[in-house]
């Protein structure tokens, strides 16, 4: 690395600072290592979701920290402080709404990212560990959504938590303890708010940063999987580095997502319902849209009774989780082309279709309730 320009008379202050740091930490080499990663078969739009998720998370962290300048996590002030952010603090409505819609964007992009990895067969050997850590990250994202939902302390918040924690209660043996642990008692109250708050702003972000770091480290150890079609010669001919083509695509993706979240925050800003209380009045409780499919399938007659409820809320999602965890270990076929993996393709289509179906039917069901 001797080609660094010596800090001569012609170098600017910025160059001198750069040289100073570079001599001590090898900045140039580090940047080169980060950017010069071969992307087999070349950059693609399909690969943008991981970077976009990192971007959404950074923005959630920034907006989240800003919200905490005014938000107070107590049962007697959470609602008022959230209303204050929405109605009195300059641009508070925008930051809060951005944070709110950002969570939806996160869930959508997690789904897209997981689907891409699944359809491309990129979870297969030697990338099993990346997949496993990714599943843990998926769980964290859902936990972020669930805990964040309570914080405004309005009716929507209260009931989503009430029902959600009742579902946790259905876990065999440990359920009662887990539900009481989350609520900090028998019913949702100050202790619940305190717990959800600290989980949302400390425990989950710390876990997510650690696991996302591990996810990236493992990804760099294994390298990108590349497309599922093409001979080694064809792939090699199209191969480029992460910078600039893939980064360019990622950046465009981030800009589009930023524009979408901002637009949603602008046109559909957050509006709170009444303050949380165990008497909902005329409000019909409903979870956030990405839990609607779960909500809707709990309505089915086939999932009635104690066992039916256990089946629908714990056993089936749990079984899906176990299948996803074990996936790279029983799917040992090196074939990555999704069109030559009929079971995987049909499985993905069916799962996606049923999530869509239940979500839509939950939305249609709304009109029959009033």
């Amino acid at each position: 690395m001797n080609d660094t320009p010596s800090a001569g008379a012609q170098s600017t202050v910025a160059e001198k600072v750069f040289t100073f740091v570079d001599e001590r930490v090898g900045l140039k080499l580090l940047a080169a290592k980060m950017l010069n990663e071969s992307v087999p078969g070349g950059s693609r739009w399909a690969y943008v979701f991981g970077s976009i998720l990192l971007f959404i998370f950074s923005m959630q962290a920034v907006t989240g920290v800003l919200l905490m300048f005014y938000y107070v996590p107590t049962a007697d002030h959470a609602y008022d402080s959230t209303q204050y952010i929405l109605h009195n603090v300059d641009y508070g409505w925008f930051l809060l709404s951005y944070h709110f819609w950002g969570s939806s964007a996160m869930v959508l992009c997690v789904f897209a990212h997981m689907s891409q990895v699944f359809l491309w067969g990129a979870y297969k050997k030697p990338r099993e560990l990346i997949w496993l850590v990714g599943l843990a990250l998926f769980a964290l994202v859902m936990a972020f959504g669930f805990t964040g939902y309570l914080l405004p302390w309005d009716q929507r918040a209260y009931w989503a938590t009430t029902v959600g924690v009742e579902i946790v209660d259905k876990v065999p043996v440990l359920g009662d303890f887990m539900a009481r642990f989350l609520k900090g008692g028998a019913t949702p109250g100050q202790m619940t708010l305190s717990r959800f708050f600290v989980i949302h702003v400390m425990v989950l972000p710390a876990s997510l940063i650690a696991l996302a770091g591990l996810h990236l480290f493992l990804f760099r150890c294994a390298g990108p999987a590349g497309p599922f079609r093409g001979t080694p010669t064809e792939l090699k001919a199209k191969t480029d580095y992460f910078f600039p083509r893939q980064i360019w695509k990622d950046v465009v993706g981030m800009a589009v997502v930023f524009a979408c979240i901002s637009a949603m925050a602008f046109w559909e800003p957050v509006v709170l319902l009444e303050e949380a209380t165990p008497d909902p009045g005329d409000y019909h409780p409903e979870p956030e849209w990405y839990f609607l499919f779960m909500f809707q399938h709990l309505r089915l007659k086939m999932f009635s009774g104690e066992f039916g409820q256990f089946l629908a809320s714990i056993a089936l999602p749990g079984a899906l989780g176990v299948v996803l965890i074990l996936l790279p270990f029983f799917d040992r076929n090196p074939e990555r082309n999704i069109f030559k993996r009929p079971v995987a393709l049909i499985g993905w289509v069916m799962l996606t279709a049923s999530i869509l179906l239940f979500t839509v039917s939950a939305i249609i069901n709304r009109s029959f309730l009033d």
Binding site: D169, R180, C221, K236, T239, T277, Q309
Partner: protein
């Protein structure tokens, strides 16, 4: 074996120079080319396809020296060093360094047994710090989880509000809650009252008085089977939402929970939907002047049998 740096390179006819650089393919992790320094006549890039055999000191090529000399000169600018590129598992695949680069193992560190001992000591110290903390931390977090149950009577309104028989009437009331260090707060709650006809009472009590007991099994109160007023906890026994008294197209007037669409009749019996058990009956008394009092109990939702939690 892989070609080594500084190895002599011999063509079919004569020796032409030595290996000065090695080029690898970042995708396949294989050595793809050698760069041969031609004894002062520049550098040539030779494909591994042209290599016949590789020994520790010699690379034997199939081509003749004139063929190698005829190759275009090596263009350094078309390449970057492996230090500047992220290549997963590079060290596992490429062994081209002419010998190992070593640093001495410190004198004091050569006692292997002691190193093992200190490695284990680290774990022991960790356990020594961590284990005693487990119990205090768990107790710390569990503090508010199991609050004692409150069996006090709560006045919720006047029975005059109930107009018709076998119809659900909602009583909204405020309960004073004092949660740990928080100031006392009023929480809005509701229960549903039904003035039951004898037929509905029979369905509710099945000819027996209903006794309520505390956790220790001591009787708290008994609802008499012929007392016409019954009170249901406002919490749906399916997953804890709040249900309503609604008109249903086929079933007539019913209790309906908007969350997961459980439907109950005036006696609390499940008519339709996913609920695992009837609505939860509460202890109730109505005084001579019509004041209604209840014990505000809540039960765990989603179970076949009742488990009281409040």
């Amino acid at each position: 074996m892989q070609p080594q740096l500084k190895s002599k390179v011999r063509c079919a006819d004569r020796e032409v120079g030595e290996v000065s650089k090695i080029i690898m393919d970042p995708l396949s992790h294989e050595v793809s080319h050698l760069v041969v320094s031609m004894n002062g006549a520049g550098e040539r890039q030779v494909s591994m396809g042209a290599v016949q055999t590789v020994t520790s000191e010699l690379v034997q090529l199939r081509s003749s020296s004139s063929e190698v000399m005829g190759l275009p000169p090596f263009k350094r600018d078309d390449y970057v060093t492996v230090h500047e590129v992220e290549i997963p598992g590079l060290e596992k695949h490429i062994h081209v360094t002419p010998g190992e680069v070593l640093v001495p193992f410190p004198e004091l560190e050569r006692n292997v047994k002691r190193r093992t001992f200190f490695a284990k000591l680290t774990y022991v110290t960790g356990l020594f710090i961590g284990l005693p903390l487990v119990f205090p931390v768990v107790k710390f977090l569990m503090k508010p989880m199991y609050a004692p149950l409150d069996n006090g009577w709560l006045k919720i309104g006047n029975i005059g509000k109930v107009k018709a028989e076998d119809v659900g009437t909602q009583f909204q009331y405020n309960r004073i809650v004092k949660e740990v260090y928080m100031p006392e707060a009023e929480v809005e709650k509701n229960v549903w009252l039904v003035k039951a006809t004898p037929a509905v009472l029979e369905k509710v009590y099945q000819g027996k008085d209903r006794e309520f007991r505390d956790a220790a099994g001591k009787a708290i109160w008994t609802n008499k089977k012929d007392m016409p007023y019954i009170a249901f906890s406002g919490k749906c026994p399916h997953l804890g939402c709040a249900y309503k008294w609604r008109k249903h197209k086929m079933l007539g007037q019913v209790f309906l929970c908007p969350c997961h669409l459980s439907i109950y009749d005036a006696s609390g019996k499940v008519l339709d939907g996913p609920a695992p058990r009837p609505l939860d009956l509460l202890p109730i008394q109505v005084s001579a002047n019509g004041d209604v009092q209840i014990i505000d109990m809540e039960f765990k939702a989603g179970t076949n049998s009742q488990t009281r939690i409040v």
